[in-house]
């Protein structure tokens, strides 16, 4: 009898200890049907669509509410046109400029550097090369061309249109122009 109870104790403790061994798989849940969402979550799979993604792009030919159309094309001609005639439709106050600096540091500073001289941390570590200074005379950037480049990207620089909305893009653009004029001083 006593031999038995030892064994029972042993099994019981093992049962208690083996809470959740494999950290590579999720733990078990009480009532999964109350945990899982019935409606589609942002990143869930979805059998309705062919590519099985719940995250969808806007239907072609439509724009989401609060967005506006950007009419310049992603070509050299579009770039030249934007460079010539596009200008900032917003006017910013001091608070926006602080915010712009923050956005710039997060999204552009890693390559272009805090001062815009093309010496961000990724450049210093030689991970990404050929980042120009904003004051580069050969490029002679304007606020129109900067906005265009943020929107579409250019050569090896990517587009930032999905990380920054329209107002934020113009905020960053005006901050870039401020850096440019500081650099050329």
């Amino acid at each position: 009898m006593i031999k038995y109870s030892y064994k029972i104790l042993l099994i019981f403790t093992i049962f208690l200890q083996s809470c959740w061994g494999d950290k590579g798989a999720p733990n078990y849940e009480y009532m999964p049907n109350m945990y899982k969402s019935l409606s589609y979550e942002a990143y869930s799979e979805n059998q309705i669509f062919e590519d099985e993604l719940s995250a969808r792009l806007p239907v072609e030919g439509t724009i989401p509410r609060g967005y506006s159309l950007y009419e310049y094309e992603d070509t050299n001609e579009g770039y030249d046109l934007a460079k010539k005639e596009l200008s900032n439709p917003f006017s910013f106050v001091q608070k926006d400029i602080l915010k712009a600096k923050e956005l710039y540091t997060v999204h552009c500073g890693i390559c272009h550097g805090a001062k815009g001289a093309g010496q961000g941390i990724l450049v210093k570590r030689e991970k990404i090369l050929g980042v120009p200074s904003y004051a580069d005379p050969g490029r002679a950037i304007t606020s129109g061309s900067t906005y265009h480049v943020i929107y579409y990207g250019r050569n090896s620089m990517g587009s930032y249109a999905n990380q920054l909305n329209e107002k934020e893009r113009w905020m960053v653009t005006s901050y870039v122009m401020k850096l440019k004029s500081d650099l050329s001083k």
């Binding site: 006593i2 104790l9 019981f12 403790t13 208690l16 809470c19 959740w20 950290k23 590579g24 798989a25 999720p26 733990n27 078990y28 849940e29 009480y30 109350m34 945990y35 899982k36 969402s37 019935l38 942002a42 990143y43 799979e45 590519d51 099985e52 993604l53 050299n76 540091t105 997060v106 999204h107 890693i110 093309g118 941390i121 990724l122 570590r125 030689e126 991970k127 990404i128 090369l129 050929g130 980042v131 120009p132 200074s133 580069d136 005379p137 050969g138 490029r139 990207g153 050569n155 090896s156 620089m157 990517g158 587009s159 930032y160 999905n162 990380q163 920054l164």
Partner: protein, 443 residues
Amino acid sequence: MDSKVFSLKITIKLFKKLTKLNSLKSYAFYLIFITSFVSNSYGQEGDPVAGKALFNTNCASCHKLDRKMTGPALRYVEKRLAEDEGLEREWLYKWIRNSSSLIKSGDPYAVKIYEEYNKAAMTAYPQLTNTDIDNILAYTAQDKAVPKPTAVASNLAVGPSNGIGLSDEIILGVFTLLFLLLSIALVVVTKTLKTLAELKGVKPKEKKKTKPIWKAYLENQFLMLCTAILFLLVSAYGFYGWTMQVGVNQGYMPVQPIHYSHKIHSGDNKIDCNYCHSSARVSKHSGIPSLNICMNCHKSIYEYNGETTEEYTKEFYDAEIQKLYKAVGWDDEAQEYTGVTYPVKWVRIHNLPDFAYFNHSQHVNVAGIECQTCHGPVEEMEIMYQHSPLTMGWCINCHRETNVKIKDNEYYDRIHVELSKKYGVEELTAAQMGGLECGKCHY
């Protein structure tokens, strides 16, 4: 051309000086100096070191030495152009200063290469002097450095998972040895004592036959009761603990389809969390970056050159970057998208049950809480795992302890004054603002 004339002048000057010199050492020095000027193969009259700096700042975004990027590979470009197309350095000066005017002027090779690269425009560099361009060409004329065989990582350079260092092992060995010696000594001593006792005629006592201990135990009712109670209490406690961890995924660390390392991106390369998780400041979700964001950098970063360990080698990391290319459909040879994509199925780690509502912008943007407060030392994680329990107790505790950030937030001006009067405090916690109401998180 004028730089050649210039170097000739210097050479003559040096010869004049040389006749005056008699120190052998400086003679040798000048000799080297002169030969470096006089020898005249492609791109030799320039400073490759200065050229490298210029190349990296101006050209490297579109050109690599040995790979096609936006523009052609540039190693031995001058030699190639001279031998294949019969173009002089003058042409290169013109091209680099302003390629588009050269194309417009109808220069046949310029038009040809422009068409070949799908009319991608090369930036104009009017600011580069001839010497600058000579330096760049000198850099492109250098032979490719043969990669040194990388030093094999020694046994000492083990990863962080392996805690026992060499000194620890030595100490352990010494202790084991000591222990062994002691036990041997003990055995020897008891043996001699026994033989001594036998010699003297002392007999060890006979053991009396007693009840075995378990029988005595079984017969003792009180002891049995105590054990039973103890046993029940312990198992009840264990059972409670076990039920409380059901559904808590603290430490959950799934294998992701691409071995994406936060340590390398946010730790070593200091990329801000918001660069990728850019929706954290404006929405409920932080979001996993779509692959085009990865390509903002990985169009240029096609291989890994950072620190490696025995477990994670350069080959391993390079293969992971190739996986990324396959997923977005990027053909690295041709430098263009193929259009065939395979969406990456990242395994979601942090996930609250459907009946609880959590919003990132409320915490990150309004309350100004660092990501690391909730997600732990992400910038040190080679593999992402869940740092916090994400239980209701955890949320509530923090709401009790954390003050709301009222600075720069007009929204709180009135409510803050009124509530702090009500509670008689200076600073309000999130709980006093209503962060404990069930309906804020469950609806």
